[in-house]
């Protein structure tokens, strides 16, 4: 048993290591010059970043990624809030709940290539131009499942007596919503906002179909890396990862805060 266990542990540790190693190597190369596959250690500089920042195309891609992210996430939150509350009401018929859930999860579960293509042909036939607005719609459709699921889970755990108690004490609909329901949903809302933003910021496959000239950052990256492995791309990759890291950190802080309050 002992050698088997050691072997399995080694595989496990190696796997976790290999999840990060290639990415760290890429980040490393963004600070150096590379000649014939060898990193020249003396060449440490931020030159590639400087070059990146003077690239107007990259700047435009960053801007449209930010725009897409903010608009898509806001729309996703509003929509998933409305849908999750609607489907968790006792009065909503069962068929409606299951159908809404199925339709929300469908674009998320299908291979992205199908979701992307379905949106592309629809937009073409409806005369919606490809570009930033199309991408926003695409991201909302894709990311909606995250917000919906997170909120629905929280709502299903919520004691219905909480709303009864508020109404029993005389509260009207708006007070019930803003003072009792919404505070209970703060955590899942923040969670879905961060996760949706991260996904929207990285989404490539669906976006590729409907992006037109609206070029988000991952699409620009995709275009650049077809031509090979360069330190400039590595610099851009590092910056994108920085954004991901910030969002992940935010998520971690969010949950640390919660664990602390439970422990207390």
């Amino acid at each position: 048993m002992k050698p088997v266990r050691t072997l399995l542990n080694t595989i496990a540790i190696l796997t976790v290591f290999l999840l990060y190693a290639p990415i760290f190597l890429v980040m490393l190369t963004s600070f150096f010059s590379v000649r014939r596959g060898k990193i020249i250690w003396e060449s440490f500089s931020f030159n590639w970043y400087a070059k990146l920042f003077s690239n107007a195309e990259i700047g435009a891609a960053v801007l449209s990624s930010i725009k897409v992210g903010i608009v898509a996430v806001t729309a996703t939150l509003v929509l998933s809030l409305a849908m999750s509350i609607y489907t968790s009401r006792a009065r909503t018929p069962r068929w409606e709940r299951t159908t809404i859930s199925a339709l929300v999860f469908l674009p998320f579960l299908l291979p992205p290539i199908i979701t992307g293509m379905a949106l592309l042909v629809t937009m073409k036939e409806m005369g919606i131009a490809r570009g930033v607005n199309a991408v926003i719609l695409g991201h909302v459709v894709f990311v909606l499942a995250i917000g919906f699921r997170t909120l629905q889970t929280r709502l299903s755990m919520l004691d219905p007596a909480l709303i009864w108690a508020a109404r029993d004490l005389g509260a009207g609909p708006w007070r019930c919503f803003f003072q009792v329901l919404l505070p209970q949903l703060a955590m899942p809302l923040a969670t879905s906002a961060i996760m949706s933003l991260a996904i929207s910021f990285d989404e490539t496959m669906i976006t590729l179909f409907i992006v037109g000239d609206g070029m988000t950052l991952p699409i620009r990256l995709y275009g650049m890396m077809r031509y090979g492995f360069t330190p400039e791309i590595s610099a851009l990759v590092t910056l994108v990862l920085l954004v991901t890291a910030i969002l992940t950190g935010a998520l971690a802080i969010l949950y640390r805060g919660r664990t602390a309050s439970i422990a207390e």
Binding site: D159, L162, W164, A165, L169, R175, P183
Partner: protein
Amino acid sequence: MDLILDELGKCYGSTWVLKQINLTIGSGAFFSLLGASGSGKTTLLKAIAGIEMPDQGRIMHGGTDITSHPMEKRPFNTVFQGYALFPHMTVFDNVAFGLRVKGQRGGVLKKSVTDMIDRVGLSDRIHAFPAQLSGGQKQRVAIARVLVCEPRVILLDEPLSALDAVLRGQMQRFLKELHRDLGLTFVFVTHDQDEAISLSDRICILNQGRIEQIDTPDALYHAPRTTFVAEFIGLNNLFQMDANGDTEFGRTATAHSGSSVLTIRPESVQVGETHARLKSSAVLTDRRFHGDNTLLTFRTVTGREILVRRPGRGDTIELGEETMLGFPDRDCTVIPGAGPK
């Protein structure tokens, strides 16, 4: 300001979970709705609170028909099962919620809220969040939250079911005192008969959505009107009696008409020497010691099990020993018209 339920009914789909509920809850009463799970007691409370709309009948309060009033407009407040405290608000904010809805602000609000929290003995936890409170403390907050609104009627939905035995005893005393001091109407839902008997002025026993009997605890115990009540409240011995007054243990002189069921409480059964008309020889088959009394199980010659409660250890008889059991007429209760048991 009596609360009157008139022919109330509620159905889900095709099953009636409440039918023909007629009852009057007097102003200032401590009124309990007692029943097993699925008896409809919680549905009835929800109908009174306005959470569920009845499909039939009326709810009257002080002469006004309030059947169609939404819950926020009813002069009742509810202490929910599991408390339903707002987890993101402190004790103060929870208690202040109802008054803020009514538009109270500033010093007046602060004074009523702190007074109420003081009254339930939680002054030192006023800024704590519900998650930081013990079960008993949460319960007190839930009660304070409704009391501060000065309702005419307080509805309590199994408020003590989540507490352990010791705490439950304390809270029962607390509720009883509160009821005495405030003189409000309490409508109390519970599945615990001891709790209902020791707290209530009147108890309504529900079974499968119907009322079995509404009475004082004493009357329910000593004069049950249905076999369900006779068996549901406390321990009891039931046996059949025909139109002539004949039973398996002899003929009784107790007044009766038609076939009926005779009941006798375990503490009223005589053991050994007996002059009762109804009597039987029996063998002791089980003995359960309860501290201040002992519960004995006998098997009669007719094969029926009879429960007998004796004070103290009740150890004058050995297991397997045969003795006489007597059922004095004055201690037997007749439930007329009850079917064979």
